[in-house]
Structures are given as C-alpha cells and as structure tokens.
C-alpha cells in the first residue's frame, strides 16, 4: 500500500506543476494589471515603471512564473488588491468557511446516498426504488438557486410556525452572540441547516443513482452468488462482499465532487450569503484582483489534485487489485 501511495503522490506533483503554470499564464494573458494606471494621464511613466518592476512585469513570462511559483511554494501568493491582505490569509479564511459548509453536506450526503442506492438496488422495482428514483430525478433536475430559495422560504415559515429561529438564512453564525459553547454550537448548526440541506439534496440525487447502478452490477456477479451459496447471511453478503466493491465508483465521484465543490459552492454560498470560496472568486473577478484570482485557481487546482489523490488511496484500500496494478 505504501509504495502505491508513493507512486500516486509522484504522479500528483507534475500534474500540480503543469496546473500552476497554466493558472499563471492564463491569468497573466487575461489582461494588463496596470491598464488602469496606464490609462490615467495623471500617473507618470516613472510610477508605472516602478510598479512594473515591483510586480516583475518587466521580466519575461517564464521568469515571472518562476518567481511567483517559488514564492507560492513558500506560502507567499502576493497581496490581494481588494482586501489589502496576503492572498494566502484570505484563501485560508474563505476555504475554512466553504469547508465547514461542504464537509457536513458531503458526509451526510454520502451516507444517505449509499443507503438509498443499496436499498433501491436490493429491492429493485419496489415502491422504495421507484420513489427514490423519482425523487432523485426531481432534485437532480432542479436548479440549485431555485431549490435553495424554496428551502429558505420554507425555513422562514417554519420558524414563524414554531415561534423561534431554528433555521437561519444569512451567513454562518450570528455575530456578537452572547452564548456558551452549546449556544454557539446550536447557532452554527442552525446556520448550516438550510445550505447543507440544499447541497445534500442535490448530491444525494446524483450519488444514489451511481450507488444503485453499481450495486446492481455487483449483485449479479458470480462471487456474490457464491457467497450466498456458501450460506452467508444476507447482511454479510451485502455488507462485506457486495457493498465494498460497489463503493469503488461512488468513491471516485464523491472525491471529485468534493474537490470541485470546495472550490466554491458558488450558488449556495450566494443565496445564503456565506463568504466562502465561491463568493471570493466572484468578488476577485469583479475587482480585477489578479493575485487573488491566481491564488484562488492554484488553491482549486491543489484541492482537486489532492482529492484525486485521496480517491486513489481509498480506491486502493477498497480494491487491493488496484494497488497491485
């Protein structure tokens, strides 16, 4: 297993280097960071030249990339134009916010999706199967912004009915809340409910279909029939022999989705006013914050590569044949 991990890690590094190069080059090619200065007749050439030197813009592109990449490896992604803060600090803060939102949704989503997929596969064409299939397609075809808005409205109505605030619609916590640990925990959980539910419903819709299809395939294999013939209980057949193999494709999809969604559950964050990675990208593009956009894209690339790597590891754990290949 250890050599398998090393092999996978070795493959991730060149991918990251290539990704970082494209991130830098594409953002650099998207426009002149000093365009506004140059267009302003009140700014002297000397000032513009000084700024060019400061940003290494007077160097060839490859040399600029080398400086940027060297600094990035040391955790220095430059200074954000819009926040007047180091890019890495803003990224860490926003990534933390998105992580909190996505982590819970993914864990619950996986558990629910696997459960629904397995039961629907085992009880094929039952009422549960038809019902879960119907709901999966309903949620899968719903636009996220619409589902989020409906859940938000439903949450507010339920709060009105209960006479107290259970569901929150804005942000990740109540500012300035005077409450103990349990109070703070409840408050944060209340803020998580609606956005998490949005992500869970959308994720479960897709993942449960993968799980159902994968489980159906496995249930028709010879080794499952053999397991049953050996006289194993149904739970042992399903849990130990079928599910473990049926999880492999789902793990891949979940890992990739999780990596992508960490780059910003853009719509969900927007609707519930969470200041996470998705909102950060929009703000940075609007404010032409080049260092921030470069940092954001690099962080996204790292995350996707990291979760690909994690998926590979988990893949190898679930299916020993893969790590020997």
């Amino acid at each position: 297993m250890f050599s398998y991990i090393l092999r996978r890690l070795a493959m991730s590094i060149p991918t990251l280097v290539v990704a970082s190069f494209f991130v830098f080059v594409l953002v650099a090619a998207s426009g002149d960071p000093l365009a506004e200065l140059r267009a302003n007749p009140g700014i002297s050439d000397a000032t513009i030249n000084a700024r060019e030197q400061e940003l290494n813009l007077d160097e060839p592109l490859l040399s600029q990339y080398r400086v940027w990449a060297t600094n990035a490896v040391q955790g220095d992604l430059g200074e954000s134009v819009q926040f007047n803060e180091p890019v890495s600090e803003v990224l860490a803060r926003r990534l933390g916010v998105t992580f909190r939102l996505v982590f819970l949704a993914t864990i619950i989503g996986v558990v629910v999706a696997v459960f629904i997929g397995v039961v629907a596969a085992v009880k094929q064409y039952s009422l549960f199967d038809h019902g879960s299939t119907f709901l999966a397609f309903v949620f899968f075809s719903m636009p996220v912004f619409w589902l989020a808005a409906v859940l938000k409205d439903a949450g507010i109505r339920m709060n009105d009915r209960f006479g107290q605030t259970i569901f929150y619609t804005v942000g990740e916590r109540t500012p300035n809340l005077d409450a103990g640990f349990i109070g703070q925990l409840t408050d944060r959980a209340g803020h998580l409910l609606l956005p998490s539910l949005t992500l869970i419903l959308i994720s479960v819709a897709g993942w449960s279909r993968y799980q159902r299809a994968s489980m159906r395939d496995v249930l028709h294999t010879d080794y499952v029939r053999t397991a049953r013939a050996k006289g194993l209980s149904e739970s042992q057949v399903l849990g130990r022999h079928a599910l473990r193999n049926a999880l492999v494709p789902v793990v891949t999809v979940v890992a990739l989705d999780f990596g992508a969604i960490l780059g910003g559950a853009i719509v969900t964050e927007r609707v519930f006013a969470w200041k996470g990675m998705g909102t950060l990208l929009i703000e940075s593009l609007q404010n032409q914050d080049t260092p921030m956009v470069q940092g954001w894209l690099l962080a996204s690339a790292v995350i996707v590569i990291m979760f690909n790597f994690a998926a590979d590891i988990f893949y190898g754990y679930l299916d020993p044949r893969i790590r020997r290949a």
Binding site: G42, S44, R93, R100, F103, L104, N159, T165, Q236, A273
Partner: protein, 568 residues
Amino acid sequence: MRSDRALHWRIPALLCVMALVLAACGGGDDDDDTSSTDETDTQGITIAAEQELTNFNQNTSADNLLWGAMIVRLVWPQMYFQTPDFKLEPGFMADGPAEVVTEDPFTVRWKINPDAVWSDGTPVSSDDLEYYWQSCNGAVDEGEPVDPEDPEATAVDCVSTDGYDQVTQFTKVDEKTAEAVFSGPIAEFDSLFSNPIPPAHIARAEGEDAWGTAFIDSPIVSAGPYTLGEYVKGESLTLERNEEFYGEPANLETITFRFIEEPGQMVDALRNGEVDLIYPQPQTDTIPQVEEIPDVASTISFGPTWEHLTFNFANTALADAAVRQAILLGTNRVELVDILMKPFSEEATVLNNRIFMNGNDGYQNNAGDVEEYDIDAANAVLDDAGWVEGSDGIREKDGERLALRIITTGGNTLREDTEELLQSQYAELGIELTIDNRPGSDAFDVIFGAEETAADWDIALFAWVGTVTPAISSAPVYGTGQGNNPGGYTNPEVDTVFAEAIAELDQTRRFELLNEADAMMWAPTELPDIPLYQKPTHLAYLDKYANIVDNTTSEGFTWNAEQWEIVE
C-alpha cells in the same frame, strides 16, 4: 456477527456526528481582534449593511462609501453634520458654529468642544483640524502647493478639497481653537470639517502615508458615542457603546452591521429576525415584501441623489441646440416618473432644478416653458433646424443621421428600464437611440475619461448627489473645463454667476444667484443636461425601535444612532 452489523451502522453515525461538531465548531480563525460583548440581542440592533467599509478613514476618494461614513461617524467626531432637512448642525466635536472673524482677509474660527477627548485620553484638539486640512488642501505636504513641474508630486488622496484648498494660512490658536485665512470670501465655509475627523496624534505617529493606510483595519481610538467591538472582515462589524464618551451616552449598547449585499437576502433576513434594520437599494418587488412583515416600519424617502441625462457637446448633432431642445421637449419625464418612481411612492415627482432638491430650501421650478412634454413642439423644432425624416424614419441633416448612443451603468435595472423608455419616446422624434452600457462603474471610466475610449459617448444617464453646499458642489459640474463637467458644457455667464454665488455670504442672495444660474441653463440654447427625478431610499426596521429617522443626505440614517432606543 451481531457486533459486526452494529459496527456498520456506528461508523456512518459517528462520521455524521463528527461532521456536525467539526462544521459547527469551525471558524473563529479570523476572530483574533474580537472583543466579545456581554450584551443580549434586546440591548442592541443588527443592521444589514450593503457595503463593507474599506478603510475607517473613509475621507479618501477610494474609500468614501456611504456605509463607511455611516459607521465611522459613530466612532470619530465631526465638527458639523447634515440634518435630514439639509441643515448643518454642530456635531459632538464642535463648540458652536464656525464664525467669521474678519471679512478681509476672510478668516474663520472654529471652537472645539472643551470636553471632547479621544478614548486614549488625548484631547480632541485644533491639531486634529489642522491634520485634516493638511491632508485635504490639495497640496503635497504641510501646505506646500503641488508642483506642476514635478509629475511625481501628488497630493494626499482626499475625497474633497473644496474649500480647504482656498485656505492660505491655518493657525492653531490654542488646544481648542483654530483659525483659517482664506484667499477670498467663501460662503459655505460652515460645511468644512463636516466629515468624521481622524485622530491626528495617531496619524502623525504613523508617518506620512497614515492618511490612507493607518486606519484600514481599525479606527484605533474613538471620540464618538461608540467604539469598535468585534470586527470580522467580510461578515460583520459591531460597535459598542463608548462608556467614556464625553457627550450624552448612547441608548443602545451595541450596533452590529452584517454585510449582506443582495436586497432580497436583506428582506429574508429581516423577515427571519436575523437583522433588525435594512436599507436596501429600493426595488419594486422588495417594498411590498417588506410591508407584509409584521411589526416592521417601512419608509420611502426621496433623497438628494438625482438622475439626469448629460449631453456630450463633442457630438456634432448634440452641439446643435435645436437637437437638445427637441430631446427635452420629447422626453416624457412625467411618464418616466409614473412608470419608474410611482411604484415606490405616490410622492415621486419630476425634478425641475439642477441645484436644489424638491422640498429643500431654495428649490424652485426653473424649467419654465420647456417643463411639459410636447412631442409636436419637439418635432417642429427639429423641422425648423433642418433635420428631415430619412427613408428609414430617422431624421438626417447634411447627410448625418440623428443616431445617438446612451451610456449608463449596466446591470442597474432602473437605469436600463429608463433607457428603454427613452428609446421608444425618441423614436417618435425620429431619433435613433442605441444603448451602449458598460458594466457597473466601468461606465464612469468612459464618461469621465479614464479610458482610451473616453468621451466616446453621446448621452450619459447617471446621478449626482445634492449637498448642503450647492454653490461649491454645482460649480464644478457646469463650469467651463471643470472635472465634473464631462459633456464639455461652457457658458462664461454661468461661470460668473457661480463665482458670485460661491463668494456671496448672504444665503438668500446666494440661493437667488444659484437659481439664476440654473434658470440660465434651462434656456433652449443651453441645456447641458436634463434632470429627471430624485431617487428613493428605503428604510425598514422593527417597530420596537424608536427615534430612527432616515437622513437622505450623505450623512445616512445613522446620523442620530446614539438616540435610538427600544420602546417595548
């Protein structure tokens, strides 16, 4: 076997619990400058703020945001502030109004509240006023004028140098008294120092760039009714009552600003009890939604922000006075107000003055004969001027089609709707109007010339904000060669009248002169622009709060926040 099965269910259950705890416990990584309060919700107010301040010293051109001013004015003191009825009153910092000591040379004296003190114990003093003047007089350093021969010499970036740049000598008479000698009489001297004043002793200790950089993250000290409490960037900012305040202590113990951009989110947050007050950009759909929320007071006011069409005199067709006159007569301003403004309030009305707002002292209808929409008269003016209808229905003259472009801030629904209405109105005049918007504030780069394509526009739809200093504020908009006159309008007689108004100390006479200048610009041969209407503001809050009154001046609705209280 039994334990095996149990384990299968325990693992996901454990994962879920861990996820919940981790997700809920996270955060706090950005709370390092927090100072949590002991308040409960009922002793404070939570406000949905559309913008986050970018600098506590919001007196720079880049940081001068309405929301920044509304927050900082509760922390840093002002000599004077604007009341909702457009009057200037002494603020916490002042000991009475500014006085003219001598008229020749024109010398003004300011007296500072003898009790005023910063929260670190330093007295609020004439040094604070001197530092403000030094930063806003348009000079490089300590009163030294900007050297036109030296392109590297740039003045401190101050939001407005109007008035301060006329001071030839500033004297700290004593700790609580300052005097300034002006180059000539300046009527609106009493508006100087009406922004939140930064602490000079902190700024001077921070060095020469302090004006723009020392207060980005914190005001450092307070001399207002509130001090900075918890500030989580991107999320919220809480002000706590300044228990050491030298004036009347504030009623509410905390004021929390939650940064929420979308008007729809603000309404939901108010409905769900997550905020107590909202001040969104008025939208026809959000107003009825707010009115349905129980126990909420909702007010619509028409402030000093007024929409208008500015003409670019560089366009040869628009340089023809007949075309501008025809456009004015053919612009159905009443229809625009009925369709765009009346859904907000039945009180909405057409604006017929460029300098004074409806309902304020000095306002009078200067539009005269050209006030009413008259499509026949408009067509007759164009016919007489030789603009004849072409084969495609668009008028032509000497081979030039009467095709104009209109530019505004793309994405602003109200303005985009205005443009579409104008398109249909001008079609009846035989004028082709093409919409050529730029996203957001990019439009101003084109209109005001910070882009290569500067001046590449014909008609610009945007807003000016009326102020309590109409002479100082309006002269740069209509004066020959002035920076705020992007259309290039020029009339030496108008320039002269504005110059007289700026120097006229008698308010009645000054207002007469300003109305005279406005009336001159309504003449058919002039028309640098067409005023349309004042934009509404929408303030809604839980009705358990008392004394909340909108202030549509640049002061904002927090102008009396120290007096807000809970009445139930």
